[in-house]
Every structure is written in structure tokens, then in C-alpha cells.
């Protein structure tokens, strides 16, 4: 098979980025409402989203700013709620060819999100940075514009519509984790255990006090580490998991 050109990878990135951008548009709309409560005007909220592109991180930030937190506190909460991106970037660093130039590393890093990471690891073989640029080119504006509109329009959308739109991102998550889980018993088991533990940590009295962001970090590290020790992942031929994403 011929290697794809950068232009083709970019186009592919746009194609895979469109559903993400649509989901972002809906979700960031509700984020805009939080931004407005924190005293942000539409353009300021737009820039937060353009420079962060992080749902939980931004939400936590807005909430703290609304409560009059210090810069240090805001930095800390941003760090904690976004710490999973640290893990994802580590993981992505392995997906890039080792000779990828610095400039591409700096640019790819700009938009490591749950969804873009999800489609990036789903690419067969090494990751071409232009794939990410394509996805970013639609996802970033979707996120930022949605936030802007959220501040502008507040609660105009009917609750019914907001409720329906709010599962879109989760549907996308499922589309990323389920196909590989179907093919690998280990991943299937991990998915089930992760969900059960996530639920339990939310209801067990002492554990439930841990913030959602922190819970995500802890569970991710603990479960992945145990899995890595018990079931070292065998390197497979390139196209393991992903015809499902296109």
C-alpha cells in the first residue's frame, strides 16, 4: 500500500473531525453558560476555548473563577482536571514516528483532547501530524464558536434539545472504545471494570468526595497499571483496531 500524502491525511482528519466538531459545538454551548456566570464576555470565553479545548478543565476553571479563586488555584485545578492529557500525550508520543520534527510535536500538542486523541490512536500505524491538523481545523472552531454562542444565547435552547445533545460526546466515546473491546478480551474486561469502578467511586461514601477529575486520573492510572503488569500488551501488526472509524 502506498503511504498517504500529507494532503490526504489532512482531508481524512477533517472528515473524522466533523462529528467531533458537531459534538463540541453542542457541549461547549453549555460551557458558555458557565463562562457567563463567571463574568466572561463572549469573546473572552471564545479565547478560553480556543486556547484550552478542554471540557472538564474549562468548566472547573470557570467555576473557580466565578467563586473568586486566585490564579494559582485556577492553575492547579486546570492541572488536575487536564492531567489525563499528560497521559494521552505520553501515549501519542509513541504513536508519532521518532523522527517527527519539533515543530510538528509542538503543533500536535496544541489540541490533544479526549476525542482527537481517540481518533489519533485509532489510525493504523504511525500517526501523520497532518491528520491531527485536519481534525483540529474543524474541532477547534466548533468548540470555540459553541462557547461563544453559549455566552451569547444562554438558555434559549429548549431543555429537551440540550438534554439530547449532551449524550453526543459519550456516544462518540463508545464508538471509540467498543470496536477494540469486541476484538480483545483484555480491553473488553478493562472497559467493564473501568465503568464499574467509576460507578462505585461515585457512590461509596468516602470515595465519592473525590472530585470527578481526580477520580478519572486515579482510576486511569491504577487500572491501566494493573492491566499493564498482568497483561503486557503484545505489539500487533499495524492495523489492529480500526476500520470502525472513518
Amino acid at each position: 500500500m502506498q503511504p498517504k500524502s500529507n494532503r490526504l491525511w489532512f482531508a481524512q482528519g477533517i472528515r473524522d473531525g466533523i462529528p467531533i466538531a458537531l459534538g463540541y459545538l453542542a457541549v461547549s454551548f453549555t460551557l458558555g453558560i458557565a463562562a457567563r456566570n463567571a463574568g466572561f464576555n463572549p469573546w473572552q470565553a471564545f479565547f478560553v476555548s480556543l486556547t484550552n479545548n478542554a471540557s472538564a478543565g474549562e468548566y472547573a476553571g470557570f467555576t473557580l473563577i466565578a467563586a473568586g479563586a486566585s490564579y494559582l488555584q485556577v492553575a492547579l485545578i486546570t492541572l488536575i482536571t487536564n492531567a489525563r492529557y499528560l497521559l494521552m500525550s505520553c501515549s501519542l508520543s509513541q504513536k508519532l514516528s521518532p523522527d517527527t520534527p519539533m515543530i510538528h510535536r509542538l503543533l500536535v500538542a496544541y489540541d490533544v483532547t479526549d476525542e482527537i486523541f481517540g481518533i489519533s490512536i485509532a489510525v493504523a500505524g504511525k500517526l501523520n501530524p497532518f491528520y491531527n491538523y485536519g481534525a483540529m481545523a474543524v474541532a477547534l472552531p466548533g468548540w470555540a464558536v459553541g462557547t461563544y454562542l453559549g455566552v451569547m444565547m444562554g438558555n434559549i435552547l429548549p431543555a429537551r434539545v440540550v438534554s439530547a445533545l449532551s449524550v453526543g460526546l459519550f456516544g462518540m466515546f463508545l464508538a471509540i472504545i467498543i470496536p477494540p473491546a469486541r476484538k480483545s478480551k483484555v480491553i473488553l474486561t478493562l472497559v467493564v471494570i473501568s465503568m464499574v469502578m467509576s460507578y462505585l467511586c461515585g457512590v461509596i461514601p468516602f470515595l465519592a468526595q473525590i472530585s470527578t477529575g481526580m477520580r478519572t486520573i486515579l482510576l486511569t492510572v491504577v487500572i491501566s497499571l494493573i492491566a499493564a503488569i498482568l497483561f503486557p500488551h503484545e505489539e500487533e501488526p499495524q492495523e489492529v483496531s480500526h476500520e470502525a472509524i472513518h
Binding site: C90, A109, S163, S166, V167, F170, R182, R215, A228, A244
Partner: protein, 102 residues
């Protein structure tokens, strides 16, 4: 007030970018350690699972519509339906169900 909000924006942007850029620029070579490689391979599946459940059930107006959307999403993803159709189907399920539930 305006100025301090702009500083908040800067703080958030810098913190987030550092988290993302440091691993991608500092880790230049392939990691050889098998446990570490396996760990990084499993991370996304665990993170996305943890974030999806039970949050997906709590995201909607009714826990039942959320659960139905999740069930439909899992089935569609299992049979190989793509990213966007799965996401849209989940939304439609919620919308239709909530016409009756709420």
C-alpha cells in the same frame, strides 16, 4: 475586572498547553519498557470508559433516556457503525424517549 479575566485566560491556556506539550516534546524515542508501553496503550480505553459511565446516564433529563442511549450506542458501535452515526443515534434516542418520559 477585564484585565484579571484576561490573566485567568492566560493562566489556563499556559497550564493546559504545558501538560500537552511536555510529553510530546520530551519523549522523542520509542519507549522500550514493555510495562510502560502496555500502560500507555491501555490508558485511553480506561479513561474513556471511566468518563462515559455513569456520566452518560446523568447527562440527560432522565436516567432512563441516558441508559437507553448508552445501550443503543454500545450495540451500534459493536456492529461496527461509525463515530458520527453512533453519536447522533444516541442523541435521537434521548430526544424521542424524553418526549414520553418527561
Amino acid at each position: 475586572m477585564k484585565q484579571s479575566i484576561n490573566l485567568y485566560i492566560l493562566v489556563m491556556a499556559l497550564t493546559t498547553y504545558l501538560i500537552r506539550v511536555l510529553p510530546l516534546t520530551l519523549i522523542r524515542r520509542e519507549i522500550k519498557n514493555k510495562t510502560l508501553r502496555s500502560f500507555l496503550y491501555y490508558v485511553p480505553y480506561v479513561t474513556l470508559s471511566v468518563m462515559t459511565f455513569p456520566a452518560m446516564l446523568e447527562a440527560t433529563g432522565s436516567i432512563y433516556s441516558g441508559a437507553a442511549a448508552m445501550a443503543v450506542g454500545i450495540v451500534l458501535a459493536w456492529i461496527g457503525v461509525g463515530l458520527f452515526p453512533v453519536a447522533v443515534s444516541s442523541c435521537i434516542v434521548v430526544f424521542l424517549l424524553e418526549l414520553f418520559l418527561i
